[in-house]
Subunit: 369 residues, 4 copies
């Protein structure tokens, strides 16, 4: 069981990398939302492969066909299903190595869980490709959030050992997030971006791969969303973020670094600014007691290096139950981080919309407007 | 909404720090489990306050009274409710500062969410005290897991800037985890432990607090638990871990550090050892594609410094809507990390039991034995 | 797994008939609700045994002790746990017949499901007594609904072969429902009530039992609650109603009788009355396409005769795996229907509140007022 | 929110009558199940329109295209999405009467709930057509159940005032259920079937419609499935059955008639037959305390007359907010009952498979075989 997520805004994903189509069902969308198809396409394009030398040569337009829940250019309130047909598929790339478990891929665990019946081609349902429907869901959520002035965005905090600057956790603006959307390598420090690019190409040349950290934010979000314990904002955000393939760490605000601060420094003191209660620092990342406090939500996501590399690796042949080695051919990203950026934003957008619909109900949009 | 977690093993918590009682309902426990009350008491004692100069002076025996689901010394299969009456309560400590929002506490966010009606005494339902029922749930889960040889344990990886050694991710044994249970400061490197103790007492003396990192593990767990995407082992573990108050980061295996490795180094190559498929490294932390691979599950949890400190801090008085300052008196832990250790283990135990019951059904225990 | 129900208003029940206590956790209650303890007590009293010759001689005050989520006489928004200690327990009544599976009780099915480890005393967790916490939950829900003028009530439509009149499906008023609350046998036709009483006492005298039908209604509920398919109002109401022990049928509006009408007669035509859209008949029971239409919600619930009877019955002795016979002594209701009336109303109140909180969010009450 | 149902076997439906496609995502299917496409087609054909004079003239082949979760002719364990493109659509039939709320249809309630943005054509997402994906899901579930010898089937118990015989609740055999599959009007008494046909055609001729009762059964199901209270077999079956459009009543075993029996007669006494514990009657319909007892599960479903009739009816014009009248043209079934038969069976199959997967886990099939 793996396909559904959400409470009032529920997404259900399906599909395999080399199957007929991948897709998602969105349940709980408010009715009467005019979908901005250009915006959705541009979000899909941010994730889609084949754009530059930094990503895989597999090129997919990732056009979403909406099958339901959409009428006269607007959402109806009924479940909206969007599908993407898989077109540029080369399954022969995989059959040769079917029995060779790719290191740090899901081949072995899928083999055990599904008793050998899973669709192994291109990672099947475990493929990063299945995040395309999530980006579609997130694009719609993001568009709806933007009508309430809420912005979701991110930058690449690091690639391998190259670091970008951090967001200004206290004064981060929607405009900053918006400007990052148009960058192939969204960074705050242009020089860092150039070094990152070289770092990725260098790894590619050496048949290896690199990972990195994405720093994301939600701004202009009100205080009061979330709950203590099992419906904390951190819990639900982390839940969906750890669903994204290759994510191995999630932290909020100062994150792991907060453990190196004393309490006095770590605590976010309250001040009143322009008639509003704020905090003068934001080590909490906009969340206290599991509930938003009105400050920017800040979180970072660790993305591991692409496990698909052309270097020879030790492995086992599952059909013969003996040790072997593997060189992964195919077309792969030397670094998945840039393409993971819109996925992380989509995941966050889905969660935030869900929290808003829970707090304010189905008629949230009308009520707020 | 915040109180329930789990699929086949569902826990529902309730209570406030200064209310009549706190407790938990456990649904889905297999019938016929003889509860080891001594073990449960010892787990509760690991979390309970007042044991040493390292923790708060509030002393609570935390005796659990089982109201249901327990008959003739065994679980019945019906919901088991355990409650803990709050006895050593000094609510007057809090009423004086009721309107002063404690920095990095949930006072302000709770005020907004619950329109000022929450029970503010001692943090109310947001109190770390509410993790006591979680430890009770975890103790039962841990006991059941141990019948299948599965062990859950942890050590303090760091306090402030003092680091313990790491677990041996590949060869970690249940015995190592078991031996850590009996330490007040569970560390692998005794010297580090002594430094940590000094560090905590030093912070206490200076009316400040410190945080740290807990490294936890599950060993002897089979491959095949979990799912891709929304029911990944990482997703569900992170979900409950971020429900624990003060947790600001969660990472698996090499975690954030994996982003600094090249793919070739990060990947866990497969080998065959003693007729079993294993990996020669464990940067994945025992999970690939969201599914366990039979290696030890390894994760780390960042715990922030206790926000309750006696140093004066800036804040706002919510009743007057004006800036003010606060010195938190009361009885507080200068470092919550040692008491968070059994909570983290409990959370993990609850999740792992749930995954096993989902995979093997209600009759798991009988089937396996 | 059995204990939780609800989406935004979630109840979790626990307890056994002869255990220490029974209870319920209510999650999602709006904060700041002043609980009317007298009203709650009166609802509990409607269900509690020992009131008259019509019910069991076991007498329980059913006093609820609130452990959490309640502060200064008001809900806090945190989970509210209410428990009822079992006091008047005579477990020896049951041990003698422990191995004799009572016909049409849950003894046998519980034995199979829980491998013989369930608490068999007085039906354990299967006891009708576990509906007391549900009535507590329902009383709170009902009180909240009443602040919005929404009324939930019912009458006994039939006992055995004696029929009461039906509600006026179109013009039913809250006052009618309110007046029924105070009747030991809530009926619309006093004569029918007297005959029902005789019928019950007659069955009692003959060591037998009788069942009946409860007709319930929700009035002054707005149009627009519910959803097509799996969140239809019928689906969720029926779900909880069939959770009540002894319920074997549920029907809405004209129910099974609608199958004997032609479409023209069955259809509810629309009219405009006093500037509001209504239907001139209400065979739909206030629900079309799974969604409320603003007319009274009407449903009927079939309650079987109490399976506990003193007449000798054939059964099996599970310990010897041989046929045997049983005479159930103990204290039992000759007819459970009168005591099931407040349970049915509670169940409906819980569901309706849940739908309202889903549609209008956590701030429903403030928004509406 | 409406689209998902199930615990371990979760179905998510989407689509509108006149949209591009309708479909379903099935999550939790065991891997390695070879789908019997001929059987699936035959189940789809049982529901599809245009087969005889008894049903609508709209003819749809209802061919399911599987997009995911299916590889080499077998399930993979990943979510399986099946879609059906809508081909024979005449939307102009509906636009003329768009503002005229069809009596006892969902037009008005959908208008209110979705603020006028729903897809009104052919009932949109409220259409009985959306049960086609449910039949697809049910066909797969039924096929899996049959590998364990569990059979699900039904007959038409009544059309209008014409009654078929009842099932033999005690000795019902899988063969009886199987033989009913091939009948256009599945009845036990051939004469009753002929009268039903006349009754339907008579209503059609008079531009009216009729309803009826479906009696369904599950045989060869083991004891021990289900739970007390909110996961009772009755609760979950009734939940999904009331999701089927036009269903207004559900009863188990003797159902509403049990209220007219004395306890002694209603109770099902236990006997031992061929070394197995059984009951000598089956008024409980195979369920006691919410849990299966190994006897046939028996339930009946009340299906209202098709609300679409050509006779003139009073209604309101929602755009003008004034009273009006309507004659529904289009192509409609004079009686929906025969086409609802496979839908009811599908719903039951989905629920039973879900209970089995919960009780025995993901490896149920392998374990049992």
């Amino acid at each position: 069981m793996s396909s559904s997520f959400g409470h009032k805004f529920k997404i259900t994903i399906f599909g395999e990398s080399h199957g007929k189509a991948i897709g998602v069902v969105l349940d709980g969308l408010p009715p009467g939302i005019k979908l901005d198809m250009e915006f959705i396409k541009s979000e899909m394009a941010r994730r889609s492969p084949g754009k530059s030398s930094l990503s895989t040569a597999r090129s997919e337009a990732d056009e979403v066909e909406i099958l339901s829940g959409y009428f006269n250019g607007m959402t109806t309130g009924a479940p909206l299903c969007g599908i993407i047909f898989n077109r540029n598929v080369r399954s022969e790339d995989y059959s040769a190595i079917r029995n060779l478990m790719r290191p740090s891929h899901a081949d072995y665990t899928a083999f055990i869980k599904y008793d050998g019946f899973y669709d192994y081609r291109g990672g099947g349902h475990f493929s990063g490709r299945i995040t395309a429907p999530l980006v579609f869901a997130g694009a719609i959520a993001k568009q709806i959030l933007s009508t309430q002035n809420i912005a979701v965005g991110s930058h690449i905090k690091s690639i391998h050992n190259i670091e970008d600057k951090s967001f200004d956790y206290v004064n981060l603006k929607a405009e900053t997030l918006e400007s990052l959307r148009y960058l192939a390598l969204p960074v705050l420090d242009k020089d860092a971006g150039e070094k990152m690019e070289k770092c990725i190409l260098n790894a590619k040349e050496e048949k290896d791969s690199v990972g990195g950290v994405i720093e994301a934010a939600v701004v202009n979000l009100e205080a009061g969303l979330g709950s203590p314990f099992f419906d904390s904002v951190e819990s639900r955000l982390a839940h969906i973020l750890f669903s994204i393939p290759a994510v191995k760490g999630v932290e909020f605000g100062a994150g792991f670094d907060i453990t190196k601060m004393r309490g006095f420094k770590a605590n976010d003191e309250f001040v009143i600014e322009n008639g509003k209660i704020r905090t003068s620092t934001n080590n909490s990342g906009g969340i206290a007691g599991g509930i938003t406090n009105g400050m920017p939500i800040i979180f970072r996501v660790a993305v591991k290096p692409t496990p698909s590399i052309s270097l020879p690796q030790k492995t086992v042949d599952i059909s013969k139950f003996e040790e072997s080695s593997i060189c992964i051919k195919g077309r792969h990203d030397p670094c998945i981080v840039p393409r993971a950026v819109p996925v992380v934003e989509a995941a966050a957008s889905v969660v935030i919309l869900d929290f808003l619909l829970e707090r304010y109900g189905e008629k949230w949009i009308q009520w707020k407007n």
